[in-house]
Symmetry: C2
């Protein structure tokens, strides 16, 4: 069976998963956690096959580290499922309850989005996290992981499916895609798939966005800024910059561009240069920067998302120039101001058009776990639907239920009846 | 200046509009209402030019009626603005307020989407309604109305802009596009425009959706169903069907397909046929229907959105077949069940995957005014972001503000510090 047929069948069962109650979905999550914990040796053995293949293929140690699925990662995954089980059911929440007139009652009730396609990097824990989030929120999911984790994903998925079937949920509500060409097939299923969540490289996400009519949630770029204000605590600034750049360079929320207020440039930039050099971070500055640090200047237009131990820096006239720079060149992901002036912070946070606007802390905090969401399916830089780290809340939509007793619009249009809006408390 | 340059400038001022306070935006709305009311004779005179041109062009009386902007429509528009002014500010609402750790506070705060392009039909009141909704929600807007209302729109827009400028809002936050080719230019401005809301014919909306990378909110089709259950009150069903079909045939929420439970088909269909014929509605049925009514049968695959005095009908085995039919052939807009059985109603409402799911009332209720939203910018059949009639709520997004005091992720990764999530009440 090809993806198109499988996804079509998934679409047919999606209302059944939507109608399942929260306890049944929690039961599935519990079964999955038990199955994974109970078959850990088998899972680790499959993972060793992927690791061996990766080493043979000469894949970098950093990537191999992510592929590895061991006791620690298994137990974190199982714990993650348990946390998710404890969260309140995101479905069937009444967010509006209004009588439009006597006997005509409108309710807005949360429900799953339907069928979601998630394409994610080669990390076995990602498969577990994403499928649990989709299950908890009553969404069917097509899951496509990185090919480097084929063996691990296959066995993990087997137990995920077994768990949900044992809980009485429809088998066809989860599907694992293994072949890369299946992504292109999936992109064409816009009549069956309600949302795509691609994770991965900039180029890959952009390819997805450009080649489908299905709504896409996620981010292509992660070009995050830190603006060091004239009223910054410079020690704080240095510490935050080092963390935001070096703590995990490949992350989308790592800082890529520093903007420094002109009043403190002469004082701060030499210190910055020294600290970065100790951390083996290359500083690429405009002329105003290199005048203080030496080296060849670069143009602002050449600032990039490096995902490496490189950072760009420029000097700005004032806070407004920093804001304009960020809104123009940024990716609307996460941007921070370092300042002790609360007014400057408020101005920055109000005017910077990004999913995350921070004062005096590292951009690396932009993450579903760190926000206390339990988990995330991804980080969205779009402004439609969910923005920033997306947990359960971003996986639901709502429908309007209207309960009547024969009401017709003609009576209201002619004036025979009038609307009498009255909200019934309490909604969420 | 071309649209691209104008929209680019609009993007630059959009953070300023986002930062304006609710009172200032209300002040702008009040000024606009005063200006419109104070220049009504001038506005009516411009409207008469459009009406004369329409009559000369042989435009149908129904459309001319919509073009007409008279005392009644002006006063309704001014009243609409007043209602909107009274609504609470949709911006700067704190929907999450959480300490991640001591001194590290996360807030999720509502903010405008940014720059919205709205392309709407030839109805002068639509221009007023849409621009007021955008202003109230702090969004910049590019407004393109139907060419048949050129004169009226031009003068209305002049006073809208005058009102917002008098209230101290940036002049460039609203822009009227007049030329049809400007729509195509607008579709290319995906770096500046955050959302498009096209209203109009199925083909037009689909054209917009297929020719832009900008997110689109709205609906192409409005293929609404009424399912008459075996436990329906048949008199209620007939009354609702007549209203849903005839009260305004050109509306997207008019019913197009009737599904009738087989147990009542022999009893109900002849009555239906008689009632519809009195209302001059043509009934196009499958063979199971025409066996009872006479006439040539049509296939289910040929059921369409007529927007006319025509309705399709089929007989279904049971409620589940009705639900499957609606999910397969419907447009996920608004679908109703007529039944006295509350369980059948709940099943229908849970399993039908539409923005509106109704029991015992007309599909024509699907409308922002009738839902008590004050107004709507459109009706969305998408499941991402807003669904159903879209009022102010669908015109805002949010950003995460994180206030720290030098916190870095490294400390949490190494275990030097731990997250201590604590929600600060009360958020909305």
């Amino acid at each position: 069976m090809n993806i198109r047929e499988e996804v079509y069948q998934m679409k047919q069962v999606s209302p059944l998963l939507a109608a399942s109650d929260g306890e049944q979905r929690n039961e599935a999550l519990k079964r999955i956690a038990e199955l994974l914990a109970g078959h850990k040796e088998e899972i680790f053995a499959e993972n060793r096959k992927d690791l061996a293949a990766a080493e043979q293929a000469g894949i970098s140690p950093a990537v191999v580290k992510r592929l590895k699925f061991d006791e620690g990662k298994l137990s974190a995954s199982v714990q993650g499922i348990a946390q998710l089980t404890d969260l309140p059911d995101p479905l069937n929440r009444v967010t509006l309850d209004r009588n439009l007139d006597e006997g005509l009652r409108l309710m807005r009730v949360t429900c799953p989005i339907g069928v979601i396609g998630v394409i994610f990097e080669a990390r076995p824990d990602a498969l577990i996290q994403i499928s649990s989030l989709c299950l908890k929120s009553g969404n069917c999911a097509v899951l496509k992981g990185g090919k480097e984790t084929t063996h691990t994903n296959r066995i993990l998925f087997r137990y995920i499916r077994e768990g949900l079937v044992k809980a009485g949920l429809p088998e066809k509500c989860m599907l694992q895609a293994e072949q890369h060409q299946e992504i292109d097939e999936l992109l064409k299923c816009d009549d069956c798939v309600d949302l795509l969540i691609p994770r991965g490289s900039n180029a890959f996400v952009r390819y997805i966005m450009d080649n489908t009519r299905i709504p896409v949630m996620g981010h292509a770029d992660g070009l995050c800024h830190i603006y060091v204000d004239k009223d910054a605590d410079q020690e704080k600034a240095l510490r935050i910059i080092v963390d935001a750049k070096t703590q995990y360079t490949a992350a989308c929320n790592a800082v890529e561009t520093l903007l420094i207020h002109k009043d403190i440039a002469a004082d701060f930039i030499p210190k910055l240069s020294e600290v970065l050099s100790k951390e083996h971070v290359a500083l690429r500055g405009t002329e105003a920067v290199t005048r203080l640090t030496g080296g060849e200047p670069v143009e602002i237009q050449d600032f990039r998302e490096y995902l490496d131990l490189i950072v760009s820096a420029a000097v700005v006239e004032d806070e407004d120039e920093a804001i304009r720079h960020i809104n123009t060149y940024g990716s609307h992901h996460t941007d921070a101001i370092i300042t002790e002036d609360p007014e400057a912070a408020e101005r920055f946070m109000t005017l910077v058009d990004s999913a995350g606007v921070y004062q005096n802390c590292s951009t690396r905090f932009a993450d579903g776990f760190r926000y206390g969401f339990g988990a995330e399916v991804g980080i969205s830089t779009g402004k439609i639907h969910a923005r920033g780290p997306v947990g359960l809340q971003g996986l639901v939509t709502y429908k309007y239920r209207l309960y009547g007793d024969g009401q017709i619009v003609g009576d209201y249009a002619s004036g025979v009846r009038q609307f009498h809006f009255r909200d019934n408390n309490k909604t969420e």
